[in-house]
């Protein structure tokens, strides 16, 4: 009993966000796909930008711009082309809620 409480607290610390605990499961899974480049919960180390806390409208606008090529990128055009606009909104809402 004590151990699983400790584990839960550690997890809350490690993942550091309310968003993870209450988010729509599909939204948090799709957002989790981004972690290997953008860092766990969108907190990035290094040159790839962080997504945590990005303003939702900005996030959606960037994904649209990657998709139509108006924002040049090395890899993001492929990822943006893989999702629908409704999914951009879903991701944007998820990341905006992370501190």
């Amino acid at each position: 009993m004590k151990k699983s409480l400790a584990v839960t607290l550690l997890l809350a610390g490690a993942l550091g966000t309310v968003a993870s605990a209450h988010a729509d499961p599909r939204a948090r899974f799709i957002a989790a796909n981004c972690s290997y480049c953008h860092g766990p919960d969108g907190h990035s180390r290094g040159a790839v930008p962080s997504l945590a806390g990005l303003e939702a409208k900005y996030f959606v606008d960037q994904m649209k711009a990657f998709k139509d090529g108006s924002r040049p990128a090395t890899v993001m055009k492929k990822h943006a082309a893989g999702y629908t606009e409704a999914e951009y909104e879903m991701m944007a809402k998820y990341f905006a809620a992370i501190k």
Binding site: L11, C37, H43
Partner: protein, 442 residues
């Protein structure tokens, strides 16, 4: 003392094994969100560690036990930079001390038997673990007996370095350091499918970058079992031409397709193909491979003539044995066998199981991505990226239009992204803290 929840669940557990395989609509009362299933994970690589982390995060009541024989994580991605002398083993060795605290039990041991009827796993240390769900994330098994002469004695001096470790990668680097200028490095590529499609070509590039600097009269012979470069072909050829004289008489790299190694002679330092015996001062033979031995023990390695494990894309559950899930390289899918895919399939499986444990239907149409970087050894890198979506008609994971492709060209910017990707995927997989000091560079 209240009734132990686990015993109460166990008493009603009869239905679980059978009901879990197909439609869960009738199980809402059983999987009520109070369910505390035993989830045993074998293997703490990119797949197993990521799965364990997200399983606990998304369904904390799951009792997660991880069984892993190594005392720390060694990354195959970036291991070719150790061969190049750009990084050392320490730069690609990472601790399990963080991820191990997030699970209910972390067992340093090796699995020796799996009973898929009793649903138990037994270890070399003599322990037996009962599971409600078993997640096999053991990677690959190298088939040395498919290469004549590649016995235990030969393996002492002929390294594969296809599972990164001091004894493999570190040892191979040492052999390259000790090779005299003007020597020949002979390396091989197994027939697809194999772990890490671009890996061998990145290895050739990395070693070439080292030779160019330190032993410029040396040569690399690549014996490829495939009819052509199996991944990022245009980008590797461009890099070899730009940096290593490929296509000229001075080419450092001698690339030979359709030249699968059939034999190795460790004493004479020769690799035999069906055409000739190729002599080398350092030889690096990667044998054919299949899903990890634990998948054979579990009876789930039935695809492609018993080499890989067929799974459902919705849950990564085996299509032949219930309650066993297979992640990463061991799975038979159309995903490339990359670390990124193992990391994301860990999440797919955790997502599906957390929905099932909550008594909800699994996502019928998953979407999953792969991004894979390769370095040239000359400060530049390039990628392949794909978004896979479930196509209900084709019953397969297919990239939507424009959601699949490679870099236009190698660049230093992409090397910066590659370094960042490495730190982020390691942090994500191993739950490394925000202030963890990464030392690996491109």
């Amino acid at each position: 003392m209240t009734i132990n929840r686990r015993d109460f669940i166990k008493a009603s557990a009869g239905a679980a094994g059978v009901a879990a395989v197909g439609n869960l609509a009738g199980c809402a009362t059983y999987y009520s969100g109070n369910y505390a299933p035993k989830v045993v994970v074998v293997g703490a690589g990119f797949g197993g560690s990521t799965f364990a982390k997200y399983m606990k995060a998304w369904y904390p009541k799951a009792q997660v036990t991880v069984i892993e024989p190594n005392d720390h994580f060694t990354s195959c991605p970036f291991s070719n930079t150790v061969l190049a002398g750009i990084n050392t083993m320490a730069d690609i060795e990472l601790p399990y001390s963080h991820i191990s605290k997030l699970v209910d039990a972390w067992v340093k041991d090796t699995v020796t038997a799996i009973d898929n009827k009793k649903q138990t796993v037994t270890t070399a240390g003599g322990k037996t673990f009962a599971y409600d769900r078993l997640v096999l994330a053991g990677g690959i098994e190298l088939l040395f007996d498919k290469v004549q002469g590649y016995d235990a004695e030969a393996q002492k001096t002929v390294k594969h370095a296809w599972k990164a470790s001091a004894d493999q990668t570190g040892a191979l680097r040492k052999q390259l350091e000790e090779m005299p200028d003007g020597g020949t490095f002979v390396m091989s590529v197994p027939k697809a499918p194999y772990r890490c499609p671009p890996g061998p070509y990145e290895r050739a590039s990395m070693v070439a970058s080292y030779f160019k600097k330190a032993k410029p009269k040396s040569k690399i012979i690549v014996l490829d079992g495939n009819p052509d470069i199996a991944s990022k072909k245009g980008l590797f050829l461009a890099a070899w031409k730009k940096h290593f004289g490929y296509g000229t008489d001075n080419s450092m790299i001698d690339y030979r397709p359709n030249n699968m190694p059939r034999a190795v002679d460790a004493k004479k330092m020769m690799v035999g193909t069906e055409f000739d015996d190729v002599k080398g001062d350092v030889i690096n033979v990667v044998p054919p491979m299949r899903a990890a031995a634990i998948t054979g023990m579990a009876g789930v390695r039935t695809g492609n003539d018993g080499t890989w494990c067929p799974v459902s894309y919705q849950t990564f559950e085996s299509t032949v044995v219930p309650n066993i899930h297979i992640l990463g390289d061991s799975a038979l899918t159309n995903f490339p066998k990359s670390g990124s895919v193992a990391n994301n399939t860990g999440k797919m499986c955790a997502y599906a199981l957390s929905e099932m444990f909550n008594g909800r239907p699994v996502d019928p149409a998953p979407v999953v991505t792969n991004t894979c970087y390769s370095g040239t050894g000359m400060g530049t890198a390039f990628h392949v990226a794909t978004v896979f979506r479930w196509d209900g008609e084709k019953k397969a994971m297919v990239p939507p239009k424009d959601a699949n492709g490679v870099s236009g060209e190698e660049s230093e910017l992409e090397m910066a992204y590659m370094e960042s990707w490495a730190a982020n995927v390691w942090a994500d997989t191993l739950a490394l803290p925000a202030d963890y000091k990464f030392t690996a560079k491109g």
